[in-house]
Symmetry: C2
Subunit: 387 residues, 2 copies
């Protein structure tokens, strides 16, 4: 048995390594030739992932071979697809990367093969779009191949332990697909749960993200109210939380590829069905989180007012521009958006982030500024305004 993993990114590579470590031969497919070369020579391209170094050193170029061509994976029996799905400017899913991956798989798909998608997608995607792409690409019909969905539940830095301990769900687009996919994944995922169908598995992953987004929005709203009332939000939160109460932390909003993306899958699908009121809370939460940068921009400006200079001359430093502390990723980063918003208002804003060089910051169209050189510093992760 040989398994292909399409996409060797933050989610795909740990999965490929764990499968190889279970004794199965894995062919990883990734367009990035340099990355493939690294893996084949036992070098880990994602060093921040705990435990991955060891697995790549052990299996890279042996049990785990990487290739930039789909044809290199032509004699596999199973294809696991785990590539990014982003939103376009209109907040609709941009399926191009996904489509290209499945058309690639379709070209090499043989009778009896099984395909499993791991990317988080709008519920219904596997049984409709993915099936179509595969049938068109391969000339086969579902039943001649098998198709299932199993959402990745990685967490940057902890992906290996998540794969080995955390519950993982899997569902087929038909019963036989579910049965076979479950049997396959059982070989390398210890805590595996078969659910009714692929759509249910898709829905499960999306609503986890929705829970997070809505609860971060709630934390942001309660934080604003606490500030208005003169109550220390953090003190109140600590004492309010217990077994049945899980108030989250406030923030400048929610960035990254996951949480701010998934609610849109349900919002847009309900709009398509003209069930406009069916995703009200999800939408308000999305708006609330995205609009937090306006709140923080106001707070920064009010702090600038305290400096004995004309507003446009107050040196502002936005400290921390990644979407999350310690992860060098700026997709939908609200901290970056906040810096740009302040710059658009004609304020003298620079940014500082220990994960970036001044040159990298310049490429993002922003100025570098050390906190010590600023009149007002806003720490985006601590939500602290200092003079």
């Amino acid at each position: 048995m040989r398994v292909a993993v399409i996409g060797l990114g933050k989610a795909g590579l740990p999965l490929a390594a764990v499968i190889a470590d279970s004794g199965i031969e894995v062919i990883g497919v990734d367009l990035d030739e340099e990355k493939c070369g690294m893996i084949n020579s036992g070098k880990n391209p994602i060093p921040e992932e705990t435990g991955l170094d060891e697995l790549i050193r052990k299996h890279g170029g042996r049990k785990l071979k990487a290739t930039p061509d789909y044809e290199g994976a032509a004699d596999c029996d199973a294809y696991i697809v785990i590539v990014p799905l982003l939103l376009d400017d209109l907040k609709n899913p941009d399926f191009r990367i996904l489509e290209s991956a499945f058309r690639g798989v379709g070209r090499i798909l043989k009778k009896g093969d099984i395909v499993v998608l791991e990317t988080t997608v709008p519920p219904g995607t596997t049984e409709t779009l993915v099936r179509e792409w595969l049938e068109e690409g391969s000339g086969l019909k579902l039943g001649e191949f098998y198709l299932a969905y199993s959402p990745e539940r990685i967490m940057t830095g902890y992906s290996i332990s998540r794969l080995r301990e955390f519950p993982k769900v899997i569902g087929g687009v038909d019963e036989e697909s579910g049965r076979r996919a479950y049997k396959l994944y059982s070989k390398f995922i210890p805590n595996l749960h078969l659910v009714s169908n692929a759509r249910t598995a898709e829905f499960i992953k999306v609503i986890e993200g929705c829970y997070r987004d809505v609860n971060i929005a709630l934390a942001n709203e309660l934080f604003k109210i606490a500030e208005e009332l003169g109550v220390d939000f953090y003190e109140a939160r600590e004492k309010a939380n217990h077994e049945y109460c899980h108030i989250h932390l406030p923030s400048t909003g929610v960035g990254g590829h996951c949480i701010p993306v998934y609610p849109w899958f349900l919002i847009r699908e309900m709009e398509r069905r003209e069930k406009y009121d069916h995703a009200r809370l999800l939408r308000v939460s999305r708006e609330l989180n995205d609009e937090m940068i306006n709140y923080w921009a106001e707070r920064v400006v009010l702090e600038c007012m305290k400096v004995n200079k004309p507003l446009s001359e107050v040196k502002i430093c936005i400290k921390g521009i990644t979407f999350r502390k310690g992860v060098k990723e700026i997709y939908h980063s609200r901290n970056l958006a906040l810096a740009k918003l302040l710059a658009e208002k004609g304020l003298d804003v620079g940014v500082y982030d220990e994960m970036f060089t001044p040159e990298e910051v310049k490429e993002l169209g922003l100025e570098w500024r050390e906190p010590e050189e600023a009149d007002v510093v806003f720490d985006c992760f601590e939500l602290r305004l200092d003079k």
Copy 2:
């Protein structure tokens, strides 16, 4: 030392009993003379409260004496107020019961006494309204008496164990009040936490309720989306929930004196301050929960369409009219509201609830109907429609 507990309801009586059980003499004040008589003869008026029978049998009429008159509590050193705060028709807090209780306490308040409020109130109430009522009633000034806030965290049926195990917070309107209140409560509350001030303690209790309300609204929204997508919500929820994900259960909305009430405290306060966008999520959640009866009314009517009779002749049974299963309380019951909504539409609706008699149901302006005699039965707790 003698402690007075004003209000011997579901929250007040368990507290009074626990204080008495710690060895302190307690005078309970409650307008209900019959209830006072029961307590004084060792009979428990709230038999559904686990462990309360034993405490009332042991202390009723001895360490715990009940009286309908404030004067009967005139020689106490501490006054704990725990009376209901409801909303008026315009969703504003109706302070009349609270005011009357504090004016009653004011009449008997002496220098050096301490007063603690336990009722859930809008943050700021203790330091403003309560202080005013007490100062006006007693002629004393704060400093001559002490004032603090400690929210009840009871849960019907488990109040005694909550008082003995669950964390409880307390905060004073000034430092000395906080210090003294903490010292007093330490005598009978093992898991006690002093917070910065009364306002923080008030806020803590209110945001716990907001977390619940918003998360129930989220569950209701995700349930509607799951139904639309043809996904079994309960299956998805079970698999989505884990250590970091706590998706709640869907419902006909949220009833009772607590969760549907508390968000309005913050919503109305933000409106008063003309910070209209500061409580958007809380407001949408409240609307969403209250409007769930429209969703269920539609579902019931669609089920009625399947019966081979004119719509107005289909016999509907709404099963379960209390706000929560097993608690005989109909304040803001959405199940009752659903039955009334269907009746207003000219449908033939009757209700069934094992906690009520047909006569009691009639007094509520509704018809009694056994589930077996109906064409369509909607179980409000199981959310199940049966023919």
